[in-house]
Symmetry: C2
Subunit: 324 residues, 2 copies
């Protein structure tokens, strides 16, 4: 007996399970006149490659958690972005990186703050979530845990780039703590990803090198669950980039999800309210990426530009962009 061909409608149904992925590589006063054509092309290529790294997993049926980790790892490995390799320098001339990951089915989360030589902080955050019994580990303690778990480390040189060192020298000259500063730019250097998988599960991941010339063990919003990173299957997954202090005070990521959950707002409306109204109450600037369970994606920001890329099979949307 020959097997019956799968009915076209059934195939279509299978194929149409929504999957979606979005990423950001930071935001700020990113203006076309300050980026050369080759720089723009390099950023776009890096954003596309990171998107592809995560999308392959989603298409293959992997979890949103795996997809956002893979996407953020690709961005951490790229020296163009302020996370992992290419992180900015602290006042002490070292790197202190933060990262967080969260999945929306059980609201499990893991995060690390102030790690110095972990190659991929986002993978350490996931290991914290899965194997530590804790949510947030900090500093040397986090690195002790990482070594016990066999997480790869790199020498300090690995993370350093000439461009970031020049930024530190410039910032020291002005005695300023600056936001991933280029001469004509104020950039909030952070990377992040959000995803919806075939099972309908959401996940979010964020990673950052923090602020150039920062002191005092400052921790921004990236590793703070509910501020820089949040995921709940009932509403959405969110990853933020911006001035971290205002994002903490405004619990930005949780607020987008809370408006969907409690007010029934759409993803677009909820995210726009938080970025364009609530955040402005405290003069906060930045942006976020978010995805919901239907495969909708939103990428609002109140700065001039945000490095971003997205793909959803819900409406076959697919893009890479830098400017507004």
């Amino acid at each position: 007996m020959r097997t019956r061909p799968i009915p076209a409608t059934f195939t279509t149904h299978i194929m149409e399970k929504p999957i979606a992925l979005a990423l950001h590589g930071g935001c700020g006063t990113i203006l076309r006149q300050n980026l050369s054509a080759s720089e723009e092309a390099a950023y776009e290529a890096a954003l596309s490659e990171a998107l592809e790294a995560g999308w392959r997993h989603l298409e293959g049926g992997a979890s949103a958690l795996i997809a956002v980790e893979a996407t953020v790892r690709a961005l951490e490995d790229c020296p163009l972005f302020n996370a992992g390799r290419g992180s900015v320098f602290t006042a002490a001339g070292i790197h202190e990186m933060d990262a967080a990951i969260m999945e929306g089915l059980h609201r499990r989360a893991g995060a690390v703050a102030g790690v110095r030589q972990v190659r991929n902080p986002i993978s350490l955050a996931r290991t914290v979530m899965e194997h530590s019994g804790f949510v947030l580990l900090c500093g040397e303690g986090a690195e002790t845990f990482a070594r016990e778990q066999g997480i790869p480390f790199e020498e300090a040189d690995y993370f350093a780039t000439e461009a970031r060192w020049r930024q530190l020298v410039a910032a020291r000259g002005k005695a300023a703590v600056v936001m991933d500063h280029d001469p004509a730019e104020v950039k909030f250097g952070t990377v992040g990803a959000v995803a919806l998988d075939q099972e309908g599960n959401l996940a979010a991941a964020t990673s950052t090198g923090g602020l150039t010339n920062k002191r005092y063990g400052r921790i921004g919003d990236s590793p703070i669950i509910g501020s820089g990173t949040y995921a709940d299957n009932r509403s959405c997954a969110v990853s933020c980039t911006g001035y971290g202090e205002e994002f903490i005070r405004s619990t930005v990521a949780r607020d987008v999800a809370a408006r969907m959950e409690l007010l029934g707002e759409s993803l677009d409306i909820a995210a726009a309210h938080v970025i364009h109204e609530r955040l402005l109450e405290v003069n906060g600037s930045g942006g976020l990426i978010a995805v919901d369970g239907a495969g909708n994606i939103t990428l609002p920001f109140n700065t001039e530009g945000m490095y971003r890329a997205w793909r959803s099979n819900k409406d076959n949307s697919h893009g890479v962009a830098i400017f507004s």
Copy 2:
């Protein structure tokens, strides 16, 4: 010409501006049979004194921010509670304390994590809020900032108590990270305060010594804005105590405020929902204290007991309690 006496109604109006203050000293399996009469009396006296320390400020017209700081300082200075003096020991036999403070008018916030020898971490948190330009400082960096600001330090001996050392020895014997553990108790040792002042401003403060035998630079919910601590004049001020990881994953403090702000729920209903429904989704146990702009106070918990005290001139409520 003689001045007219102030009309009685006006005097009454002035006198009736609502002020309110509540505090907690941790929660857990606190059972009457495990506390001797003298221990119970000692806890009640300490809770009353801390309440009085903050209430004097509110009555005198000081801000909610000053009142919650004063209340938490009194609890930090008392060796009975797991914050400041009397903090539990980490696995390394030292103290790593966390604290946060937030005011509801401008949603300003300050927090510290992993400080070892700052006498009153809550006062450092306030100084971070007012003078650092950051929200959250961690570890040695936070202590460097504290020294620059002239914040008082103590020798390690100051924080140590015999009872806490015995808890560490017991925990090491079981290779357990425990929640402020007594032989017959699991307690979530944290202290906190929330207040409403005569100007109608809200504030919240939380301070903790963390977990006995903790490792890896673990940070709990206390210093996380939106999880252990939150204040917004539009809704309420909240300070939490419980298993920190579940409080982070559930953004407990922000969720109470969000339900009031977005759903129009009363303080009581919103706080009860978060403690008795949302937190249980992740098997979270603990409690919180909260106050709103009308001087209402709520103190829900899903454990056997919570050290607590409260006072409001709205309904002349005033009390100290330990058990449910």
